[in-house]
C-alpha cells in the first residue's frame, strides 16, 4: 500500500518537475549536480534558484551527466542528501556511476523523466522506455529500487519516499516519471514538515578504530559516516572486504554481493508501494504505472459502469517488482492487462510472476502518444 497521506496544508499549482523539487527539499536534499536535458530541465533550473536559499544548500552545473552523478556521489559521501535529474540519453551516461553508487552503498536519488527513444529519440514526447534500463542498465549483478509517479502529487510524495529509501538502505534510488506527468500542472498539497517521515542514514556511534565500513548488520545496512567526520575509511568501486579494501577472495566477494541483494530484498514489504482500485472482486485487473495508470483508472471506472468487474493495480514501486500485490490480484482475476508506452518492459515482470497462471494481455504503444482510456477500455470489455 502507498504510505498514508497525512493532513496537508499549503496548496500550490505545480508542474510535475516542480513537485519533484518540493519533495526533494522537504526530504532534506541539499545538493544538486547535473546537466540539463529536456524534459527534466525544470528540475535543475528550480534547484539552481532554491538551493542557495537554504542553509548548506549547494548546486553545481557539471559538464555532462557522468560528471553530474559523480558530483552527487561525492556530495553524498561527504554527508549530503544529494540528487540529480535527467532524461534517457543522460541516464545512459550515468550507468557506470549508478553501479558505483550500488557497490559503495551511497544514498542518492536520480530522477529520470523518460522521453521517446532509442537515442535522442523524441525529446518532448512521453514514453516509458527506460524501465529495464533502470533495472539492468549498469554492469554487474545488483539490486536496485525504482519508483514511479503517475500524477503531480505523487511526484512530490514519491520523491520524499525515494530519499527515505535511499537513506534507509544506503543505495541509489531511481524515480521514473514520463514527460506528461513532468509537464502537467496540477494542484498539489505541500505537507507540513511534521506530517511525514524523513529518514536519515544511520551514522556510526562506535569509536572510529572499531568501525568497519562494510560490516554485516541486522538490517544488512552498515552505518555510514561522512567524509571528514573522524571515521577515515576507503571507498572503492572494486569489490571490497568489510574494511573497504579491494579483495578477490571468493568468500569475501560472495559475502558482499549477497549482502547487497539481501539488504533490499529482505525488506520487500517496506519497499513495495502499490495502490489498488476496485481490485477486491475484480475478474480483470489492469497493472499500470506512470501517466498510463491515470488512463487505466478512468478505463476501469468506465468498465465497471458497463458491468465489467475491472480493477487497477497501480505500481509506485517498479523494482523490486511488487510480487505479493500481483499474486494477490491474480488469486481472483482471470486476466491481467498491462498497458505501457513501450514494447513490454514491465509486462515481462508481470509474466514472470504470473508464470502462466492467468491470461496476460499487453497494450503497447511507441508512437510518442499516451495510451488513452478508450484504448484500455476496449481491451477491458473484450476479455
Amino acid at each position: 500500500m502507498a504510505r498514508p497521506r497525512k493532513k496537508r496544508n499549503k496548496e500550490i499549482f505545480a508542474l510535475g518537475n516542480e513537485a519533484v523539487v518540493e519533495g526533494a527539499l522537504l526530504a532534506g536534499c541539499t545538493f544538486y549536480g547535473g546537466y540539463p536535458i529536456t524534459p527534466s530541465s525544470e528540475i535543475m533550473e528550480i534547484m539552481a534558484q532554491r538551493l542557495p536559499l537554504i542553509p548548506n544548500g549547494s548546486f553545481v552545473q557539471m559538464e555532462d551527466e557522468i560528471a553530474g552523478l559523480g558530483s552527487v556521489i561525492g556530495a553524498s559521501l561527504a554527508g549530503r542528501k544529494a540528487m540529480t535529474a535527467t532524461s534517457g540519453p543522460g541516464f545512459s551516461l550515468m550507468q557506470e556511476h549508478l553501479g558505483y553508487g550500488c557497490i559503495t552503498e551511497t544514498p542518492l536519488v536520480i530522477v529520470n523523466v523518460m522521453r521517446g527513444g532509442p537515442s535522442t529519440g523524441l525529446p518532448t514526447s512521453p514514453a516509458q522506455g527506460d524501465v529495464q534500463q533502470a533495472r539492468w542498465g549498469t554492469h554487474g549483478d545488483h539490486s536496485i529500487i525504482v519508483l514511479s509517479a503517475s500524477n503531480v502529487q505523487e511526484c512530490l510524495d514519491n520523491t520524499i519516499e525515494a530519499f527515505n529509501l535511499a537513506e534507509k538502505y544506503r543505495t541509489p534510488v531511481i524515480l521514473l516519471i514520463d514527460e506528461i506527468t513532468a509537464h502537467t500542472r496540477e494542484k498539489i498539497v505541500i505537507p507540513n514538515p511534521d506530517e511525514f517521515e524523513v529518514f536519515n542514514r544511520i551514522v556510526p556511534t562506535m569509536p572510529p578504530e572499531w568501525y568497519k565500513p562494510y560490516e554485516e548488520t541486522v538490517r544488512g545496512v552498515p552505518p555510514m559516516p561522512s567524509i571528514g567526520s573522524g571515521y577515515r575509511f576507503h571507498v572503492t568501486g572494486l569489490t571490497h572486504d568489510t574494511n573497504g579494501f579491494p579483495t578477490s577472495r571468493p568468500d569475501e566477494v560472495r559475502e558482499l554481493n549477497e549482502r547487497l541483494f539481501r539488504k533490499i530484498d529482505q525488506f520487500l514489504h517496506d519497499v513495495q508501494m502499490v495502490d489498488e482500485v476496485d481490485t477486491e472482486d475484480a475478474d480483470v485487473v489492469v497493472i499500470a504505472y506512470g501517466t498510463v495508470a491515470r488512463s487505466a483508472e478512468l478505463a476501469v471506472k468506465q468498465a465497471r459502469d458497463l458491468g465489467v468487474k475491472a480493477g487497477l493495480l497501480k505500481l509506485s514501486t517498479l523494482f523490486p517488482y511488487p510480487r505479493k500485490a500481483t499474486e494477490k490480484v491474480m488469486a481472483k482475476a482471470h486476466t491481467l492487462i498491462v498497458p505501457e508506452m513501450n514494447m513490454g518492459q514491465m509486462s515481462r515482470e508481470v509474466k514472470r510472476v504470473n508464470n502462466g497462471q492467468v491470461s496476460v494481455r499487453t497494450i503497447n504503444k511507441v508512437d510518442g502518444q499516451i495510451i488513452t482510456p478508450a484504448e484500455i477500455l476496449k481491451v477491458l470489455t473484450r476479455v
Partner: protein, 278 residues
C-alpha cells in the same frame, strides 16, 4: 644511508590494517609521489581528517588505498567529478585528486578542463608516465610522437598533449610541473597546490619502466630516472635556450599562480548574500 626520520613519517600515515604489499612495480615512480604527498600534507600541518584523497583508475589510482586519510577510489577518468561534489559539500576539506595521464587527459579530459575553468578548490596531481600502466602499456594522450607502446607498435603517429599548456589555457589557478627525481621541489609544488584557493594542477613526470621503459629502449628503471635528471630543467633555464635546444628539454617549475577564490567560496558567498536578503 637510511633516513630513519623520513621512514617514520611515512609509517605514521600508512594504513596498517591494509593488506600490504602494495601493487606498484619495483622502480615505479608512484611510490615516490606518495611519499611526497605525505611530506607535503605533514609540512602544511593538516590533520588527517581535513584531507580527502580522491583517485581515479590506473596504477596511480591505487595510491589512495594505502594512506590513512578519507580516501575515495572512483571510476576511470571521473575522479575530479567526485572531488567537485565533496568540495562543494565540505568546503573546509582539502580535496586532493590523484590521476594518471590516461585517466586525466584521455577519458577524463573533459572533466580536467572544466574543473580548471570552474576553478573548484581541489588539487590535482597528474602522475604522467606517458603510458597506460595498469592495462598493460597502451599509448596515452601524452605518449610522445614516435615512441612505442602496445597499441603503437610502429610508433605513435598522433601528437601528445602538454598537460601544463592544457590546464593553463583552461584557466586553472595554479599549474606546475615536477618530477619524481626532483623530490624537494615536488614537495614544495604539492604544498603550494594544496594551499592555493582554486584549482591547482601539479603534473608529475614519473617513470613506468614496466610498460613504457621496456618498449622504448630503457634498459633499467635507473635509466629512466637519469633521463628525468638530464632532460627536465627549470623553466627559467629553459626560457633562455634556443628553439632547437628547447625541443630536447622539458621545462619544469610553476607556470601559473593566481589566487582567485575557488568556486565553492564564491558559491557560499553568493548563497550567504541570498539568505541574508530574505
Amino acid at each position: 644511508m637510511v633516513d630513519m626520520k623520513g621512514t617514520q613519517l611515512i609509517h605514521e600515515y600508512l594504513r596498517h590494517n591494509k593488506k600490504f604489499p602494495h601493487v606498484f612495480c619495483a622502480g615505479c615512480g608512484h611510490g615516490i609521489v606518495l611519499g611526497s604527498l605525505i611530506r607535503s600534507i605533514h609540512g602544511l600541518g593538516l590533520s588527517k581528517d581535513e584531507v580527502c584523497v580522491v583517485a581515479g583508475i590506473g596504477c596511480s589510482g591505487r595510491l589512495a588505498a594505502y594512506v590513512d586519510f578519507n580516501t575515495v577510489h572512483t571510476t576511470h577518468g571521473r575522479a575530479l567529478t567526485f572531488a567537485t561534489g565533496i568540495k562543494m559539500a565540505k568546503p573546509g576539506m582539502h580535496v586532493i585528486v590523484v590521476m594518471g595521464d590516461g585517466d586525466s587527459m584521455a577519458i577524463g579530459g573533459n572533466h580536467l578542463i572544466h574543473a580548471a575553468r570552474r576553478n573548484i578548490g581541489v588539487t590535482a596531481l597528474i602522475l604522467n608516465n606517458n603510458i597506460y600502466g595498469m592495462t598493460g602499456g597502451q599509448c596515452s594522450p601524452t605518449t610522445p610522437s614516435g615512441s612505442f607502446s602496445m597499441t603503437t607498435p610502429m610508433g605513435q603517429m598522433e601528437q601528445s598533449f602538454d598537460c601544463v599548456e592544457l590546464c593553463s589555457a583552461a584557466k586553472a589557478n595554479y599549474v606546475a610541473r615536477g618530477t619524481v627525481f626532483h623530490v624537494k621541489k615536488l614537495d614544495k609544488m604539492i604544498m603550494d597546490g594544496i594551499s592555493n584557493p582554486g584549482f591547482g594542477v601539479v603534473e608529475i613526470l614519473t617513470p613506468c619502466h614496466t610498460q613504457y621503459g621496456r618498449k622504448n629502449k630503457y634498459k633499467t628503471p635507473v635509466d629512466m630516472y637519469k633521463t628525468l635528471k638530464k632532460d627536465v630543467i627549470d623553466i627559467d633555464r629553459y626560457n633562455k635556450l634556443s628553439e632547437a635546444d628547447k625541443a630536447k628539454k622539458v621545462p619544469s617549475g610553476v607556470f601559473v599562480q593566481k589566487d582567485e577564490p575557488g568556486l565553492e567560496e564564491k558559491f557560499y558567498e553568493m548563497a550567504a548574500n541570498c539568505q541574508g536578503g530574505l
